[in-house]
Symmetry: C2
Subunit: 593 residues, 2 copies
């Protein structure tokens, strides 16, 4: 264990003792219930050394543990080596299972604490309900901030407005739709804490969080006024004028609490309990009524408008060109032995960055050779970069943030000879992805149904993967965007035309290799029959799918047709953007099987 982490834990326990706290809960969250966190909210990484993006710490006098899901088991075990920290596997991703653990170990009348400022309201409710039934006290504590001596400052990156040419809808129109929803919910005000909702609503983007082009802010929308709590210095003057011209009043980021305290006692406040921190509401007048519902903007932004979709199509072409150049470079350079997971990821970023609209990667690229591919959330080791050799599989899961859209794509490249097992698994994963992408489904279908259909080819062979099949993707916004999701859980959100989702089945053989193939798809109307309305997916991603590992006999004709037609389409659309040499290379790569 690094001495400073040991000390930090020791110090925290002293503060717990001082304040009479028997157990401390530390969620991976911030006041905006973000998935990716600014440095200053990475309590978990600072305290325990775990750098994954999902998990919860629980600290008692004689225990220090992390609850996380299967995506991070290997990573947590590696990062906790030779420390006091223990990994506790979560049965269900995102559930506060540590509460049941605590209740079995902590006596009644003892106290559990966490920082209300970063605790999602929904989780807080569940903790409270369970603890209350057992007579346990739950209280706020900010001792983490006291213990963290060199805690970084809040980010203060520049922010900017994006034009309607890019995002397709004015702030005024978005506010008008949101206000209808507020009224419909019987509320007078709507508080938005989630940064992607705020970025979408106000057509603003920034760089306060890595990979997510968002701006630290809160928003309070009433029938007559719109307050945006954000540090004005982040914006250029022109942008400030633009926001004001849309009726947006700017207030300092830190003044939210003061304004909330001043809300009329008769107010009815609409908030999203999944995306609001407990601490944000603790100072509200007690007579203010709270209405809980998904943020209207979350539902609106999931359905992309025509201009966003046109821009996304352009982005996909440009992203595809970068990928073609990357794969060609890889094929040429790997045999020299000078390419590592790290340099490959760097090259891909460099190729994406040739697009003038490129802003950043949309997440930390997963550039994983051989056994490293078996860790679905692997990050290449910068200090000891792994060299790519001329055999086995290389998995690259990456994406870009562009002014005109967000990409996320995974391909697996054979670097030379493959085992039969690798080819069988590759073919099965590809078959699963084709099943997912070619699904026709009735209006009302939910993500769990697409998930099951995608997995079937793997289930048929007693194989499966531990992660979801797909996630919603923002428009030049978060690469993980709800409310819809394609996974096994019983989320009741219906898929609607205009939603963009990933389809990314995989197979992982720990110690050997990992395979995942991912496209983004757009839900579109398909047909109206006497049995109702049906939708289908239009595949957005334009990157050749390597057919060398495919065992054709394992596929049905419709899978082969899909693959051939997909690769042909990639060639047709990208060829005019490529040099002669690149085009020749791509033609070979996209030949029919």
């Amino acid at each position: 264990m690094q001495p400073d982490r040991t000390l930090a834990l020791k110090h925290l326990r002293e503060l717990m003792k001082r304040d009479g706290i028997d157990a401390m809960i530390v969620p991976s969250s911030d006041p905006h219930v973000s998935e990716y966190l600014p440095q200053c909210y990475r309590y978990i990484s600072w305290l325990s050394g775990f750098t994954g993006s999902a998990g919860t710490l629980v600290i008692t006098t004689d225990f220090a543990g992390l609850w996380t899901d299967s995506r991070y088991f290997s990573q947590a075990e590696a990062e906790f080596k030779d420390t006091e920290w223990e990994l506790v596997p979560l049965a269900v991703q995102g559930r506060p299972e540590y509460v049941d653990w605590l209740l079995q170990r902590i006596d009644a009348e003892r106290s559990i604490a966490f920082d209300f400022q970063v605790m999602p309201l929904l989780i807080d409710k569940e903790i409270n309900m369970k603890c209350h039934a057992k007579g346990l006290q739950v209280k706020h504590s900010d001792i983490l901030n006291q213990a963290w001596t060199n805690r970084p400052e809040l980010p203060a990156e520049k922010a900017y407005c994006i034009s309607e040419d890019l995002c397709g809808e004015s702030i005024a129109d978005k506010l008008s739709r949101i206000r209808s929803a507020i009224k419909q919910a019987g509320a007078s005000y709507h508080l938005i804490s989630s940064l992607d909702d705020i970025a979408w609503t106000f057509n603003i983007r920034g760089a306060d969080i890595s990979y997510n082009p968002v701006v630290l802010a809160f928003a309070l929308i009433g029938s007559d006024e719109v307050l945006l709590f954000v540090d004005e210095e982040k914006f250029a003057e022109g942008d400030i004028r633009r926001l004001k011209a849309s009726g947006v009043q700017l207030r300092s980021y830190s003044s939210l609490q003061m304004h909330l305290k001043g809300l009329a006692a008769s107010s009815v406040l609409l908030i999203d309990p999944q995306r609001t921190a407990k601490g944000t509401l603790t100072n509200l007048d007690r007579s203010i009524k709270i209405v809980e519902s998904t943020n209207p903007s979350t539902l609106f932004k999931a359905v992309k408008n025509r201009i966003e979709l046109d821009n996304i199509l352009t982005v996909m072409r440009n992203d595809g060109v970068a990928l073609v150049r990357f794969f060609r470079w890889l094929e040429k350079e790997v045999p020299s032995g000078g390419i590592t997971e790290v340099s490959a990821a760097g090259k891909l970023t460099e190729l994406r960055a040739q697009n003038p609209n490129f802003v950043s990667n949309s997440f930390a690229p997963i550039s994983a050779y051989g056994p490293n591919g078996a860790l679905p959330h692997y990050r290449p080791d910068e200090e000891n970069p792994v060299v790519l050799k001329d055999y086995g599989l290389y998995l690259v899961d990456s994406g870009g943030q562009y002014l005109d859209g967000t990409t996320d794509v995974t391909r697996v490249i054979p670097l030379g000879r493959l085992s039969n097992e690798e080819m069988v698994d590759y073919t099965l994963v590809l078959k699963a992805m084709v099943e997912g992408c070619s699904t026709i489904y009735p209006k009302g279908t939910r993500g769990y149904q697409i998930d099951a259909i995608t997995r079937k080819p793997l289930w048929d062979q007693s194989r499966d993967y531990g992660h979801g099949t797909g996630h919603g993707v923002g428009f030049f916004l978060n690469v993980h965007e709800g409310p819809h999701v394609f996974n096994k859980s019983n989320v009741a959100i219906e898929i609607e035309p205009g939603m963009v989702t990933s389809i990314e089945p995989g197979l992982y053989r720990p110690g050997k290799y990992g395979i995942r193939i991912e496209n983004l798809v757009l839900s579109v109307p398909y047909i109206k029959s006497e049995f109702g309305e049906f939708y289908s997916f239009e595949t957005l991603t334009l990157a050749p799918i390597d057919t060398r590992p495919v065992i054709k006999g394992m596929l049905e004709k419709r899978h082969i047709d899909w693959i051939n037609s997909y690769n042909k389409n990639v060639y047709t659309i990208l060829s005019s953007l490529l040099t002669d040499e690149e085009r020749g290379w791509l033609r070979k790569k996209t030949m029919e099987i």
Copy 2:
């Protein structure tokens, strides 16, 4: 409208006016929250004429309507012809959508009433929550019983114990498992209202409700005592001794309330809010704590034990023999023109009844020719029986209650020439059923995943069906048994080995024909791979699947193999139980395609 129904509605409205009731809600339920109801609880049929088994009436001064789901639209429309009653289509089966309708039409401070004695607790909660928010008063009323002048008596059919040879587990062992669950839930008592749970727990069966071999009763299980509230006269003396020998104390059916009133104030009572009526709990001491959870027996009985399964295999053979004889009879007799939907159903019941263990049908047989097959819950018209002709499709969905198990099977028989559309639809439905029955799925899979995989072949062709794919089936108990279900809804119950479920996709062309093919399947362990545990289905039903309408070119090899292997298996298992002539007939019917 029949004059007595018009009068009944008029009378009810007078009583509503007298008691200051602005809207009356009448659910399809009884004090046991049964699906099929004793005559005396068929308020809906008595008042409105609607005879379907799911729906809710709402009556106001100027409106009388039925909320029901798509299975009953045609039936309700037919039954409401020339009456004041209106059909209101439910968007989601089982949801109290009428409350939102009422809230939009009734002013605050008005009052809504229903009979607490028959209102499921879960629905009551939802109604109350919504009405409370709007300031509406919700109250109990038994004016239905006052208005129903010739209301039938409570059923008083004979009941009996079944031996462990049949059901495989003693009352004592079942009680011991239930008591562990009560303790686990932190409760001191468990009240069971649902009749199938009581029948399972006490190894008793009866005939108080058509098709469901249950006995009107309540049960109260504590750590030291077990009270069964049932009319003792229903049982033979030997059975009473047997129950008492297992520690069961008998109390009269009507004395439940008195006992509940006498429960110690410190008691913690475990009840299932889905299967307990509001009225059952209204007299409880207010300090008694209620713990809500699915009845432990519901979870236990869904997983069949080895002896039950062995008996079910026997039942399936005998049921299969009856079906073979029926199909052969049908083929021979239809050309004569003397067979009707009614006489065919009667013949099938007669053939089933040749088995000495036969008790009754497990539901009203659906014997439907041509366009009538398009009504998923069709009941043949006894007064004007439809004659089967030598063309088109005949659908028969039927099942038996035997001492050694419950069956439910649907087959569609071509009676002569078919249209291409009929053959295409038949082939698609069969393909869907084969997909469902041959699914391999990981531990943790829920019904909605099986449902999606089953529907896929239909979705591929922009077709779908409005009902679920399958339901749990009891062991000589209710033909619809939870907690698991295969449908589109997000029910989070995991499928476990030992569960018996139907798989019954369909396609319906109103005015033309309906197709549904149904087998019962048993969930069994399949394999443990490095990706986890996988389960599969073992098909239980043994009835030949007619292959004449199959368009082979629409199927993949695995579907054809499955059908051939299934029919071969039917022949192999049934042939020794048939006469030479029957065997010869079955051999032809089960020839490979």
